[in-house]
Amino acid sequence: MVAAGVIALLKQPKRAAAAALSIGSLGVSLLISLIAFGHVLAGWANSLAVRETVNFTWIQFGSSTADLGWVLDPLSAVMIVMVCFVGLLIFIYSTGYMAHDENFTRFFCFLSLFAGAMLGVVIANSLLLLFMCWELVGLTSYLLIGFWYQKPSAAAAAKKAFLTTRVGDIFFFLGIVWLFAQTGTLLFYNHGFGSMEGFALAGLLTQHTNFGLTVAGAIGLLIFAGAAGKSGQLPLHVWLPDAMEGPTPVSALIHAATMVAAGVYLIARVYPLMSAGIPLIHTGEVTGTTAALTVVTWVGAATAVFAALIAVAQNDIKRILAYSTVSQLGYMMAGLGLGGVAVGMFHLITHAFFKALLFLGAGSVIHGCHEEQDIRHMGGLKADMPLTFATYAIGMLALSGFPLFFSGFWSKDGILEAAHSGAIQGPYYLLVFGALLTAFYMTRQVSYVFFGYWRGHHTAHESPRVMTVPLAILAFFAIALGVIGTPAWPWFRAFLNGRSAPFSLHGFAEPGLALLMITSSCVVLLGIGLGWWLYGNKSPKAEDPDVLEKAAPWLWAGLRDRLYVDEFYGVTFIAFYAWWARVADWFDRRVWGGIVALVTWLFGLWAQLNRLIDTYWVNGGFDKACEEISSSGGLLARVQNGRVQFYLRILAVAMIALAAILIWSSRA
């Protein structure tokens, strides 16, 4: 954040300084986060549940206080490492991508600000501090999406993002206020008195509100509304695809890896609240579910499928990835709802890496194709951009959940496993269908972009090293992270829950696990196969309709037009709001304006009255008085008639009077 502040003061031409400052400060943050992570790791290795907090009072009003604080526990530790690491790679990438842009320094200023705010969200121990950083993240997202503000579509997209997330934030704030009112504290953990700890939660469970929800459940739903806005769940997902108007590094950082993950992180953070009432068995896994978690699960699953369906019919390379993000976020939410913090968070971490990889790869492709973004105008880039192709393919396979080697498989499988073991199987089937679609549309995208022959205008070229090296690093992690989440060695889950995790192949032997793995593998391979069969090495010309479009035209049209959600909103909410604004304007102009005019007129009247009084009464009176004085002066002037004898007489008279007085007084 300091870097952001300093860069804001720098002038535009100082690019190297700005970039260095941003990357340097984020590097320092990375170091610090690694140290913290190591600390937590050491604590975990010693079988200690590490949770350190630093709290302080910010405002005191009456008898209650608003506290702020920071927390370091396994959850926040992994998040800060992920944010710093992925962020650092994206920052380095941006120096290459934005090299032609003239607003280079402003970009890095905003990036630094965003990184600071995101880290604030992650390590906050207080709901208030989290909310403040949450809003700051929203603000920087607005600034970055509308970075090229001269484009009207970019400005509109930024506004849309901000307003949509605002809707969610209102509910979030209501939840915060309610929680504060109920528990009296905003801190999560406060040596037993925090709002996420047993004492407060027990209190929340005893009260009930509408629909038979407990207060805990109701607050949890309100907070989820905020997360839904930020993470693009149905129905507040409409801003995410439009947010692709921003530069690609922005899309990678914010809308793949970090900001949208903030919503998921929030749910993970308040998980004790949402899961209050479920007895936790000692393995840390969830046995039952609450109303709040059920809602989370269904919303997540529905989003996953909805977005995946739309992604199938998109032609903009970034938009496909955007809808993919929405879909994967749905997976994460479902994972949280079904399997607990560890399951959802694992997918979040792996998704951060391979989605960032995919976005950066898309950026590389766009850069190489001279700012072309329509996949129908690309093709055959496998030969022209080999490094990009290789990393992109790894990312795509990870996203699809290609079996065994890629982290995506393990994380997605964790979610599917949790879904399968749930009481209702509906989410499971939805998620499996979503996996099929994911594999399908990613294959479609890859074959359009990299296979076939080139359909673009100019020749494509590979991107500079500063852009491809981060791609390679991310690709490595896309594979490697899978290792920590396999059933053979559930390190991640154990780490988050504070237990030990031995490596044992017996993990694979759990009943039903093998069947699940095989099922999901088949689904993925089916999806890839379908995609290859339909799109394979063929490269239809841009003007030709898509294969599926020929098959089912109006279904295709509906999917391509995003299932008309935006239009629906436009007709209902926005139209209403515009009408309301017009009414308010009329009111303002007519009623209040009329009152103001009336008051003004009265004042004018008063002023006129004053003027009349002044002219005739005051001035006239004053003039009259002066006249009188003049005339009396004239009278007195007659004494001065210039005649000596007259003066002498007066002297004599005065002398008589004086003498008389003297004699009289001396006599008496």
């Binding site: 008639n641 000596v644 004898q645």
Partner: protein, 106 residues
């Protein structure tokens, strides 16, 4: 008319003279006669002084006499200057009539 105190007699005479002089100064038209009246008044005052000196407690102090002498001298000077002024006014206004001399009218 026998007055018990000679001093009182002299004082009354002086008062009479003073009144006569004042009457002349106040009623006559001619400016020179006003000055004559003023000289009479001054003389009456001198008589007063001498009378008090003669019948007063300390005649050896010569106060009254001195005052009268000085008064005579000053009166002479004043008469000279006053008459000079009257002549000057006559040259301007061609008259010594006081009723017509109201140029200092306010």
């Amino acid at each position: 008319m026998i007055i018990a105190s000679p001093l009182a007699a002299y004082l009354l005479v002086a008062a009479l003279l003073f009144a006569i002089g004042l009457a002349g100064a106040l009623t006559r038209r001619n400016a020179i006669l006003v000055l004559i009246g003023i000289e009479l008044m001054l003389n009456a005052a001198n008589l007063n002084f001498i009378a008090f000196w003669r019948y007063g407690p300390h005649p050896e102090a010569l106060t009254g006499m001195m005052f009268a002498i000085f008064s005579i001298a000053v009166a002479a000077a004043e008469a000279a200057v006053g008459l000079g002024l009257v002549i000057q006014i006559y040259r301007h206004a061609r008259t010594t009539d006081l009723d017509q001399m109201n140029r200092m009218k306010g």
